[in-house]
């Protein structure tokens, strides 16, 4: 890792220690507030890779991944937000009127949600026209449902639009993870929308971001293991520190070793030739193992939100559902490996 990258990581870590760590629980309970958005914008994180004309910082890939890793190690919700703004929004909104809106969200003035469930599954409003006045359309599994505007699918299910704010929020249910943003069904006002391109554009944007998603996982792995390792140093049972028991020490240090391997890979490669996928598939399964062990090491305390470790367990699984596409991604990797169609049956 070169000095610039180290410095970048330190900067993000300091920022997070100062601005996220102390409100991490609040983020889980109440969501990401505007003042944090502003600070993230001021630091240039919200538009890390976006073009400067939209207020972005045009950073290189490794620096961007460093931001994702460090932020996610404190709050995966914040990491995911920065990812969605950079890896998706900045690629889709950088034109026409939508460009004005891109500036607003990258400055933290406004917020953008994602009609993600539909986009991933590829159906349009066939899922239901609940706002029967013809204006509002039910969008399922929307990420950041409290946002001001949304990227969603139009009626045909093929075109992406920038839709106005929500009309109605669906009933209360906490999402499994990334609670700082939230995921829920909302009715969105689709009148007077901007066209942003095709559904396939967003799918491609996600497919081109394997290393970045892996960087979010890396942050989750790091954040959860940090907590577990610290806890194992201070908690005693049967007159010994947890760290002194071989199963505890071996499992945590093994996971840390795998984390280190993943880290060096993530910062030294690029998304070409399926390399990003290598990292993504490794990171996905490691994140599940690490967060489970981290929770377990905390015993009963791990099961309570106050200790800030169960959120990693929830978030790893949530991200595996929304940003990692299980069989699709495994099939993509298989095709890289076999150089032809594979894994269809």
């Amino acid at each position: 890792m070169n000095d610039d990258l180290k410095l970048m990581k330190e900067t993000v870590r300091d920022f997070s220690a100062k601005n996220i760590e102390n409100i991490a629980l609040k983020i889980e309970r109440e969501g990401i507030h505007k003042d944090l958005l502003k600070k993230l914008a001021e630091q240039g994180f919200l538009g890390a890779t976006a073009p400067q004309e939209y207020g972005g910082s045009e950073l290189d890939g490794a620096s961007y991944r460093a931001i994702l890793e460090e932020l996610s190690s404190f709050s995966p919700s914040v990491g995911v937000l920065v990812f969605l703004y950079n890896s998706i929004a900045s690629k889709l909104l950088n034109k026409g009127k939508a460009g004005d809106y891109l500036k607003e969200i990258l400055s933290g003035e406004s917020t953008l949600g994602f009609g993600y469930g539909e986009i991933l599954e590829g159906y349009g409003n066939s899922s239901g026209n609940e706002g029967s006045d013809g204006k509002g359309i039910l969008k399922k599994d929307v990420i950041f449902p409290t946002a001001n505007k949304f990227i969603a699918l139009d009626g045909s299910g093929q075109n992406l639009i920038l839709a106005k704010g929500k009309i109605e929020k669906a009933k209360d249910k906490k999402s499994l993870g990334i609670r700082g943003l939230g995921i829920s069904d909302v009715i969105i006002d689709t009148s007077g929308t901007e066209n942003l391109g095709l559904r396939s554009d967003i799918v491609k944007a996600i497919e081109d971001s394997s290393l970045e998603i892996a960087a979010i996982y890396l942050g989750i792995i790091k954040g959860s293991l940090n907590k577990a390792i610290e806890y194992a140093k201070v908690r005693t049972t049967f007159d010994h520190y947890l760290k002194d028991y071989s199963p505890v020490a071996f499992s945590l240090s093994n996971l840390r070793a795998e984390e280190e391997l993943l880290r060096s890979y993530i910062y030294e490669t690029d998304n070409e030739n399926g390399k990003g996928l290598n990292a993504l598939i490794f990171a996905e399964s490691l994140s599940k193992k690490a967060t489970k062990q981290a929770l377990q090491t905390h015993g009963g305390y791990g099961y309570l939100e106050d200790f800030g470790v169960e959120k990693f367990y929830r978030d790893a699984m949530t991200i595996s559902t929304i940003l990692f596409r299980g069989r699709t991604d495994r099939k993509r990797l298989s095709e890289e490996v076999f150089g032809t169609e594979a894994g269809n049956l």
Binding site: G117, L120, E121, K140, D141, D172, K173, K174, S175, L176, I183, S184, D185, T236, T237, F238, D239, Y245, P247, V248, K288, K292, L295, Q296, G299, G300, G302, Y303, L304, E305, D306, E310, Y313, R314, M317, T318, S320, T321, I322, G326, R327, R330, G343, L345
Partner: protein
């Protein structure tokens, strides 16, 4: 060797399942989960309908599995008001059984078991709560952590130290008491923000000079540790039932999705098929272990090795199955009921002996058993 439940138990199982499907709707389960509130109405209903029948431990086990299969938070909530009853049943005197247990059995009172302390749950012998004898009373001071029903139970079976911890034999000098929540100096603070089983009530208990009459000592002074370990050997079979319920429920719902809601052809994919087979195989293996542990236990020949294997393996199976269910159902699971299974399952590896503690017990028993077989 017979792998079938009796016809009576099969009918009972069916009845419990119907009850759970009728009463534990998604709406009710989500509401209780969201609000972190205890479903007292369901507790009362389950009693009225005869779902809870303590005269038969087999029925209790089957009921726990079937209820948790539909929803763990609700299933545990309606079966946990009796948590700790076996300590009084086995070691209490007639007066205690009459005064406390019969009320619980009638559903008029609720109880809890208070062992864990802020400083430690696995290491029970390291308990610090003190019970000092004073005349015909004991004065209790200390605190208890993560106590289920902590805020709503009428009384607790509580472990406390009656003589100083001699470092070599720490587990001696501990005793169990019946402590009523209305005793002066007792207070409970609800613990909020649990990952799962959020319908259950959990609290920290504070004991500040709580006066407990000496007739509330259970059994003999100094034998508390042994009573509690005996209890865990029973209750672990029931935790296995909770865990198997969660795992089976996750499989049920995954299959339902694959058949009715998934894009066509999903069930023909071998990756999906292999995952389902794995889930089902582990569930079946866990259930057989539980039946074996239960059949030893309910014939009064408890086998701690098998019991710990059953509890540990069933818990891992619950976590495994709920994780795989999430993987196979994707967004459907994330926004539906399966994500709750994923959150609920994890408690199984923690309470009543963490998975690590079960492994320690198994290893110790193996060593012992191999000594005696030589």
């Amino acid at each position: 060797m017979d792998f079938e439940l009796s016809d009576e138990l099969k009918d009972f199982r069916k009845m419990v399942r119907e009850f759970a499907l009728d009463e534990f709707t998604s709406e009710v389960a989500r509401k209780r989960d969201f609000e972190e509130s205890y479903p007292d109405d369901l507790r009362v209903k389950s009693l009225q309908k005869g779902i809870i029948d303590f005269s038969s431990p087999w029925k209790t086990m089957v009921a726990i599995e079937e209820l948790c299969r539909v929803d763990a938070g609700l299933g545990i909530s309606v079966t946990v008001p009796y948590f700790g009853a076996e300590v009084i049943m086995l070691f209490g005197n007639d007066a205690q059984k009459e005064k406390y247990l019969s009320e619980v059995n009638k559903g008029k009172k609720m109880m809890g078991l208070a062992v864990t302390e802020p400083g430690g749950g696995s290491d029970v012998a390291a308990n610090k709560t003190e019970a000092a004898k004073s005349g015909n009373k004991y004065i209790l001071n200390g605190s208890k952590m993560f106590i289920t029903n902590g805020q709503i139970a009428d009384f607790f079976v509580m472990l406390a130290r009656t003589s100083k911890a001699d470092s070599a034999k720490k587990h001696r000098g501990m005793s169990t008491f019946i402590v009523e929540s209305k005793f002066k100096g007792f207070s409970a603070n609800k613990l909020e923000g649990k990952l799962g089983v959020r319908a259950t009530n959990t609290a920290e208990l504070i004991l500040n000079n709580v006066e407990v009459p000496e007739e509330n000592l259970i059994g003999e002074e100094g034998k508390g540790f042994y009573y509690i370990m005996t209890f865990f050997n029973i209750s672990r079979v029931f935790v296995a039932a909770q865990a198997i319920g969660v795992a089976q429920g996750a499989l049920d719902r995954t299959l339902e999705y694959l058949k009715n809601n998934a894009p066509s052809g999903e069930l023909q994919n071998e990756y999906v098929q292999f995952t389902l087979s794995d889930m089902a195989t582990r569930i079946e293996a866990a259930r057989l272990l539980m039946y074996k542990a239960a059949s030893y236990l309910f014939q009064f020949k408890p086998n701690p090795t098998i019991t710990s294997m059953a509890k540990g393996y069933a818990s891992e199976t619950a976590v495994f199955a709920s994780e795989k269910a999430m993987e196979l159902t994707g967004l459907y699971g994330l926004s539906g009921d399966l994500e709750r299974y994923f959150r609920d399952a994890k408690i199984m590896e923690i309470w009543e002996g963490t998975s690590e503690v079960e492994k320690l017990i198994i290893a110790r028993m193996l060593e012992k058993e191999s000594d005696s077989s030589e």
